[in-house]
Amino acid sequence: MRKHSVWLLLMAFVLVLSACSGGNGGNGGNGSGTPDGNSGSTNSSDGGEQVTLRVLHWINEPVNKYMEDVFIPQFEEKYPNVKIDYTTVPSDETYDQLMQTRVNANDADVVAYKSSFVGAPQEWSPGAADPLWKQWADAGLLADLTGEDFIANYNPVDVENAMTYDSKVYGVNMGKVSFTGLFYNKDIFAQYDLDVPTTWDEFMVVLNTLNDNGVTPIGFAGKEVWPINLAVQGLQATIHEDQLAYIKGLWTGETKFTDPAAIEVLEKAQIMMNYAQNGFMGTDYGTLPSLFAAGQVAMAADGTWNAATYQGLNPDLNLGYFPVPGSSDPADNANLAGKYDMTWMVVEKSSNKDWALTFLEEMSTRDNYTAFVNAAGFLPTQDVTVDSEFINDITPYLGEFILAWDQLAINRENVGQYADGSSPHAEFLKPAGPLETPQELADLSQKDWDAAAPK
């Protein structure tokens, strides 16, 4: 019995010791230490050893399909010792969480960021918090891509605007998108003799004509909230004379959420929501394309990145896209605004950094990049010709690329719910929310904003 007890004890100690050593080795940095960069995959990037390249991305059907069906098989065929582990999760907080935990733990090699490098505090926004990408860049977690040859494939102006921070290139931006317009069903418009509206009054005629004929004019996906505010940003882009000046003014006190232009945005947003489908606040973003593709709504508030999804659901769908005409002057409504979309970043301490760079190099070749933007429906950041009827259709609205409100806005820390985030909050207005009038919402937004002013 004694002998067995000793053996049992010995085994138990070995178990505890191995558990302890596993915990120490696997977790790498602990917040105050300096990780050695060997955590994550144990594969080496040199020689012919098997390598698993960990790529993080959110769910975006056309892009995911291109990656999974075209690019990744092609890459793995060219580099047989590399296997790409392509992880996709919903684009909401799920992706933010995945990205943070995996990058902080060096458990990723290539990470897609949801925008370009925007939102860094400016001299006019004292006390504003650093966005995540800036925290990572400042902490040395992002690889400096400045000297890489493939960066030269991209338009210098886009490299400067979207990929550069503190004179260093930290990412590869894959293209621009617009989201301040509405998809429309050309067949339905033709059926009721409707033209693309170029002013707010014309837009009202379109809304009323459709409504009077029993057609639901606009489809909104309200459940996630942000898709509603895409159209609201369309109103902002066309109603505010200079969005950046207005945002700066909010910080300095020269402009208010209660200014006539801001109230007008909310009033028109409320009008648009009154023409939405029943139950629009419970409609999730994944359902909206099927509503539009099935002809249940004549227009849909969505970004150009989703054009391929709409077309994929119904190849016979005759769709177009026009800017939300918030102004009475057609010239103000002539352009779409948008953002630089996904940006690939390489994790600096990745054990597969060389292969991560090879991944971006391959992605950046003219052929692969062209195939990518065609699949994604992005406006290119390389000087390539896009073979997309949809993109060509909206090109007249893209004379000069204008950044939308959420790409320009910088928020105060700890600001209340009526002014937080990076877009206005039309979801609080009836019929979506509890507030009756735009003035109420504007007053509450200004109150929250003032309360969060730096002391």
Binding site: M1, R2, S5, L8, L9, A12, V16, A19, C20, G23, G28, G29, G31, S32, G33, T34, P35, D92, E93, D96, Q97, Q100, T101, N104, N106, G119, A129, D130, P131, L132, Q135, W136, D138, A139, G140, L141, G222, K223, E224, V225, Q277, N278, G279, F280, M281, G282, T283, D284, T287, R412, N414, V415, G416, Q417, D420, E427, P434, D448, A451, A452
Partner: protein
């Protein structure tokens, strides 16, 4: 017989006990202590960044920041959530436990069916109820349409939070029922026989025999419901993402730690500690009260 003999061997049980204790300290107590330390710092949680102790600034900020009223509303929602869950979940669970405790045909099937949502987990349960409450032609919407009305359900400021509470109760009612069932089955039959002889029927039998005898099960269920209710964030995340006035203190802990565009572990740790004290206080008060009641009964 004591199996470990004499001398050094006598300490083998103690040493063996050290293993789970060591693992517990390593995996549970240690991280909790780190959270306390983090809450007193401005750590971002990003490896390689410097951090310093800032005292109770994170706590002060939570209670005095300009959006403190949003946090107060989240706390009041947490209390409302926990109160509703404790009351309704346990009442329904007790009722069903009493029914399935009878010798019914297929009683095992009923018990398993009522317990099934516990096994399904949060994501599957969330999916099921999102489909049932789908405003675009879901069955609940069709039912409302019959009465000439409609709703946005989980997208509604009016009822989204109540629907989440309903789903939470649906998910965990089977768990409470099982605990009540165990309590009911432990009641000796002769007590009922003796009560019957004294004229105890129906409600009187329940009031004077069943209820006092399952007092420990009630205490356990109420404590678990309070702790579970105050800590719930997952089903809120799945169903509304904290939108439409559905965020609770526990959800805000999650959001501050993971669902932000700025990494601020110090602040998230402070909110987690506030959440811990909040839950601990309610749990302790409830435990002392119900233990006292058990003795009285």
């Amino acid at each position: 017989m004591y199996p470990f003999g004499k001398g050094l061997s006598r300490y083998v049980p103690l040493l063996l006990l050290m293993i789970p204790v060591a693992l517990y300290v390593l995996l549970a107590v240690g991280p909790s202590m780190v959270t306390i330390v983090f809450s007193l710092t401005d750590a971002t949680g990003i490896p390689g960044t410097s951090w310093k102790f800032i005292g109770f600034d994170n706590y002060k900020e939570f209670f005095t920041a300009s959006n403190a009223s949003d946090q107060v509303r989240a706390i009041s929602r947490s209390l409302y959530f926990a109160f509703a869950v404790v009351l309704i979940q346990n009442a329904v669970a007790l009722l069903i436990a009493i029914i399935v405790n009878k010798r019914l045909r297929g009683d095992v099937f009923y018990r398993a069916t009522y317990f099934l949502p516990v096994v399904l987990g949060v994501t599957v349960s969330g999916l099921i109820w999102q489909m049932l409450f789908n405003p675009m032609g879901g069955p609940a919407q069709k039912l409302l349409n019959v009465f000439g009305t409609q709703s946005n359900f989980f997208g509604s400021y009016d009822i989204a939070f109540e629907l989440i509470i309903f789903v939470q109760i649906w998910m965990y009612m089977g768990y409470s029922m099982t605990i009540f069932l165990a309590g009911l089955q432990a009641i000796p039959k002769d007590l009922y026989e003796a009560g019957y002889m004294d004229g105890a029927r129906g409600w009187a039998s329940f009031r004077h025999i069943t209820f006092p005898m399952i007092a420990p099960a009630i205490t356990v269920n109420i404590l678990l419901s309070i702790i579970g209710g105050l800590q719930t964030f997952d089903i809120i995340y799945v169903l509304t993402g904290g939108k439409f006035e559905t965020s609770t203190l526990a959800f805000n802990v999650f959001a501050a730690a993971f669902a932000t565009t700025t990494s601020d572990f110090g602040r998230a740790s402070a909110i987690a500690m506030i959440q811990f004290v909040f839950v601990f206080a309610f749990a302790i008060v409830a435990m002392l009260y119900f233990r006292k009641r058990e003795v009285e009964l």
